[in-house]
């Protein structure tokens, strides 16, 4: 008789499972339920990008690529980083194509974190950073962010968290789940704290093109003095509605990228080749698609913000990604209680804010990667629900 428990490592056994799925499992059983939880675009991958993949398949371009990715793709990525952010990367040694942004994050953390090293992780944020840190033997150090600061990372919080063991700072902006954006001047304040340290920055910029502020998208690596200490992670999932293609990339100093590539090589071999051909087309001819999707998201974002304002539900204005993060603390004891009750009574499934870290308590995440009609229905139910509550 196998004793599987004895086989599992303590780290794997102790990884926290997500408690979110239960809301959506319940929602799926309610025929009239409305879900607002999905974190992926509702748009299809633009046709010309799909066509490029079909062409690649027709030509039989289905073999392994080089480990770091097809050179034409790495060259396009380098051109994109220069064109959009004035950042120069050598496609030969400073760009690695990965299986989505998530693999890049994992490989970077595993490249620099060993037992006892500390990783600074702003929260609320995407749920993978802390578990991946733990799997690498490191210690996650949580940096809370607050509604009063627009969920931006405050420099004093970073400063107070730095110890001799700190090796890596995660910079997850534009942010999932809050939609918060860090702008040039915000980054400069963080840069001032990091200036005389040996801390590397992993800037997760997967939502960077979904920016609704007046200023152009700005990468942390553009911040004065930060280029050499930053690895930018980006991908095609959110920008070009290519979630299922599993294709992302990382750009950074070659000394680190060499190790990222080694881990990628042993763990993955290479990103899916057909997806890489599609990604080349996306970068070459996809700017109009980005604008089209960004404008549609912006319409929905403002629709939701206006709706919350008219219902007197506090909701800070998110300037990026495709989420709003309203404060529901006036309506329930905690986020989970709200989500349970809201699902039970109004048949709407949303994600409790504390799923993204303790500082998300009192909030819910609403994705607007849904049609305006869908959002209107949901808002209607929200309004009726809170009227009954008060």
């Amino acid at each position: 008789m196998m004793d599987y428990e004895r086989l599992l490592t303590d780290t794997a056994r102790n990884l926290k499972p997500s408690g979110i799925r239960k809301f959506f499992d319940v929602a799926e059983k309610l025929p009239d339920a409305i879900a607002l939880g999905v974190g992926e675009p509702d748009f299809k991958t633009p046709w010309h990008i799909r066509q490029a993949a079909i062409d690649a398949l027709s030509k039989g371009q289905t073999r392994y690529s080089s480990n770091a990715g097809l050179m034409p793709l790495r060259e396009e990525i380098a051109r994109y980083m220069e064109r959009r952010f004035t950042l120069k990367y050598d496609p030969e040694s400073e760009v690695v194509v990965t299986v989505g942004g998530s693999e890049a994050i994992d490989n970077i953390i595993r490249s620099v974190i060993s037992i006892g090293d500390e990783v600074l992780i702003p929260e609320p944020s995407f749920v993978c950073y802390a578990p991946l840190t733990e799997l690498a033997g490191g210690t996650p150090v949580i940096l809370p962010t607050y509604e009063k600061d627009g969920f931006k990372l405050m420099p004093e919080i970073v400063k107070n968290a730095i110890t001799e063991k700190t090796k890596l700072l995660i910079m997850p902006y534009p942010n999932n789940p809050t939609g918060a954006l860090m702008e040039k001047e915000d980054y400069e304040k963080i840069a001032a704290v990091l200036k005389d340290t040996n801390i590397l920055v992993l800037s997760d910029e997967i939502y960077i093109e979904l920016n609704y502020s007046k200023s152009k998208p700005f990468s942390f690596a553009q911040t004065e003095g930060m280029f050499d200490r930053t690895i930018v992670v980006n991908g095609f999932s959110k920008t070009y509605a290519m979630t299922g293609w599993r294709i992302g990339f990382a750009c950074g100093p070659k000394q680190i990228m060499k190790s990222v590539l080694k881990i990628h090589q042993y763990g993955i071999m290479c990103a899916p080749t057909v997806s890489q051909y599609a990604a080349i087309e996306a970068l070459k001819n996809g700017d109009d698609d980005i604008e089209h999707m960004r404008e549609n998201y912006n319409m929905r974002r403002r629709f939701l913000l206006d709706a919350f304002e008219s219902m007197s539900v506090p909701c800070f204005e998110p300037k990026g990604a495709f989420y709003v993060f309203p404060n529901i603390s006036a309506f329930a004891e905690n986020s989970e209680a709200f989500c349970n009750d809201f699902l039970e009574k109004a048949h709407v499934a949303v994600v409790p804010g504390n799923a993204f870290g303790d500082s998300g308590e009192g909030f819910i995440r609403i994705s607007y990667a849904y049609s305006l009609d869908h959002l209107k229905k949901a808002v209607d139910r929200f309004e009726k629900y809170i009227k009954k509550q008060s």
Binding site: V38, G39, E40, E295, N296, M299, L372
Partner: protein, 162 residues
Amino acid sequence: MNIKEKVLRFLETDCRYTAKNIADAIDATEQEVVDVIAGCIDDGTILGYKALVNWDKTDREYVSAMIEIKVQPEKGEGFDSVARKICAFEEVVSVFLMSGGFDLTVMLEGKSMREVALFVVEKLAVIDGVTGTATHFVLNKYKDKGIIFDEREKDTRVMTEF
């Protein structure tokens, strides 16, 4: 793309979008969008707002047909005079001047194949300048105005760990 093109693109996608919705999307003011729409209506850029109906979902008896028409062009008028006469019939849904082996494509709707056939024979074929017609009945509509019929897409996205 200028503001006019952007507004038109949104309305072409879904004419239920309000001026406020479009203004929100493109970072314009609501008044700017209202003015663009009013200008487009005035100058005939926007000609109407219609729902795209799949009549197969109803009990309505109807039939659609595409008629290829050969026309002897008139001096100084070309095909315009004949095309305008055809446009005047209420049964005619659309009229296009074509390149290739015939001159006009006319889309028609009627209650039955017989009604459409009679219309072609009695109303179109007899117009001065029309030298030939070929009638093709629509058997099934798969896609129209960019919308695929009978394919109400379900949201197949699953709840991943975000």
